[in-house]
């Protein structure tokens, strides 16, 4: 009796659909090619997953609060450009450059949030404008050329994305940061007072405001969080691949939003899940990796991503309707 009850709750959880899809995906790829579960391939997937994954975590909270941010990909490219330009021109130390980049990212997030909440412009338009401005600045200050990043091997770069071995796996520190961020933000969303405010702000902003919830501040803080975490992810990536390209992160915004909604977070706000997002990140990143391994042309990747998004949206809406009808 209790077991069936538990099972029922598990199946009706918003993360259940994405979880089944992830399991099926791993199964299919493993059957098709043994390379998929080899240590070197897992290391490979774990190397590039945290970067988009971190942005998705921030985006999950922002979307739960009823807003989204299209400028994350630009900030992903912009922050490392700032950090490495400061360092390569001998303006300041790498650590100072890192701080400057983070502060500028926070400022971008603040401007996004301020314009959305105070000027009441839809976040689609505000962050679309910001996408172009930030990308433009990154291209302008570098003349479009990548910045050197390999000359620095400091405590900071090791802390952010240093490599170590775990048995036969090569793990980057960024994986640990991703897990830590996911744990913290998952806690914030489900266990904390702040999380209650985030969900209320996205669910019914007027009702929340009438109860004394500071909706505006909550949303601005989430825009700042999303921008800072995107900048941090960009810096992580620049150190790992030893290049800060002013074009990197292009079109990441859509992939990130796809990861978040596949995981079960509502595009319209009010409902969000960090666990679902982590699953969504794994689904899309493993898809990109597995498709190449099983021999599907890389150019066909988008067909699969699009199909997954459509399929998951259909599933979520069906579950939603069944949930409503059942009560």
């Amino acid at each position: 009796m209790r077991l069936t009850h538990l099972l029922q709750r598990l199946v009706s959880a918003p993360e259940f659909g994405p979880f089944v899809l992830l399991a099926a995906e791993i199964l299919v790829f493993t059957v098709r090619t043994p390379v998929f579960l080899s240590a070197s391939n897992i290391s490979n997937v774990l190397a590039f997953t945290p970067e988009l994954g971190m942005i998705s975590l921030g985006m999950t909270l922002l979307m739960t609060a009823g807003e989204f941010d299209l400028s994350v990909g630009s900030v992903f490219g912009f922050a490392p450009i700032i950090m490495w330009t400061v360092y390569n021109t001998h303006t300041a130390s790498l650590e100072t450059g890192f701080l400057i980049a983070m502060v500028l990212a926070a400022l971008i997030g603040f401007i996004n949030g301020w314009m959305v909440t105070r000027l009441k412009i839809p976040s689609f338009l505000v962050t679309l404008g910001m996408l172009l401005v930030v990308r433009g600045v990154a291209l302008y200050i570098t003349d479009g050329f990548p910045q050197r990043t390999w000359s620095a091997n400091s405590v900071l770069t090791n802390l952010i994305v240093g490599e170590f071995s775990l048995g036969t796996l090569r793990i980057h520190a960024s994986v640990l940061w991703f897990v830590l961020f996911a744990a913290i933000l998952g806690y914030v969303l489900t266990q904390s007072k702040a999380g209650n405010w985030i969900q209320a702000a996205g669910g019914n902003a007027d009702a929340a405001r009438a109860r004394g919830v500071r909706v505006t501040q909550t949303k601005i803080l989430l825009f700042i969080l999303t921008a800072v975490i995107s900048g941090y992810a960009g810096i992580t990536s620049s150190i790992r691949v030893s290049a800060a390209n002013p074009n990197s992160g292009t079109s990441y915004e859509l992939e990130v939003i796809a990861m978040v909604v596949i995981g079960g977070t509502a595009l319209t706000g009010g409902r969000g899940t960090i666990i679902g997002t982590v699953i969504g990140v794994l689904i899309l990143r493993m898809m990109r990796n597995g498709i190449v391994l099983v021999g599907v042309p890389g150019l066909a990747y988008n067909i699969f991503i699009g199909a997954i998004i459509l399929g998951m949206m259909a599933l979520h809406s069906w579950l939603e309707r069944r949930h409503r009808a059942g009560t």
């Binding site: 209650n196 929340a208 009438a210 109860r211 509502a266 009010g270």
Partner: protein, 254 residues
């Protein structure tokens, strides 16, 4: 008056060129249920929104227990013991009953630095409150509002007002869209609120509902207060209807 709880004095409010409120004065005593009546556009909602901090008046003062206060936002009103229940319940439908009850005033677990909700306390209090407002069905407090009926939602909003010991509970069209039984529940609540020392302002289109519970009826028409002291025991429903529509003026003159 010594037992006066709230007094709004000479409140004016303009929306562009339209004067929504014209020198309106309204007072509510302790343990009193005031019915606020008026046709659409009479200014009832505007007056109530000013009292609950959602709107600011262009001129006029608000006194609580004789002391002048400023209502800048909803929190100001709530901390001064004024709780408003709007017709659409103003609940976050995605959140659970317990999370809605404590929205904006969530109890935290120590150490407070962790910002952690005390979910056990929230669910416990919610369970007690739901019983108190007459939801006899066994609904777990973790149920999202979206799964509740209109009457159950209204009951949750009422439970919230009761829990936070509000001195004045404003009910804005609380019986709209409710079934017969649910309406009776709301009216029962209003009576019990008075018995336990609360005051109420009760706004409704349905005069029959108002007549059943209030001590005094105030009527507004086109932004002005046109009657203040109607005793429902000594007036007929038709008489009040005439005042609302303005027909009594013609009669008095003639």
């Amino acid at each position: 008056m010594a037992d006066e709880l709230v007094r709004m004095e000479r409140i004016n409010k303009f929306f562009g060129h339209v004067q929504a409120l014209n020198d309106v004065t309204l007072s509510v005593r302790k343990n009193e249920i005031v019915g606020l009546l008026g046709d659409n556009g009479a200014g009832k909602s505007t007056l109530i929104k000013i009292l609950s901090g959602a709107l600011r008046p262009d001129s006029g003062e608000i006194y609580i227990h004789g002391a002048k206060v400023k209502m800048r936002n909803a929190t100001d009103a709530i901390t001064r013991g004024i709780e408003t229940i709007y017709q659409d319940s103003a609940l976050v439908t995605q959140l659970s009953i317990a999370r809605n009850l404590f929205l904006g005033r969530e109890p935290l677990k120590a150490p407070r630095w962790f910002n952690r909700l005390d979910q056990r306390a929230m669910n416990g209090a919610a369970r007690q409150l739901l019983k108190k407002v007459g939801i006899t069905k066994d609904i777990p407090p973790t149920t999202p509002i979206s799964a509740l009926s209109g009457g159950e939602r209204q009951a949750v909003a009422i439970a919230r007002a009761m829990h936070f010991e509000s001195e004045l509970i404003i009910l804005d069209e609380p019986t709209n869209n409710l079934g017969v039984e649910e309406t009776q529940g709301v009216l029962r609540f209003v009576r019990s609120a008075r018995d336990s020392g609360h005051s109420c302002i009760f706004i409704a289109h349905n005069i029959y509902h108002v007549f059943q519970v209030v001590n005094r009826i105030v009527v507004m028409r086109r932004g002005k207060k046109v009657a203040d002291d109607i005793d429902p025991k000594q007036t007929t429903i038709e008489g009040v209807e005439r005042i609302i529509t303005g027909m009594s003026l013609v009669e008095q003159k003639g």
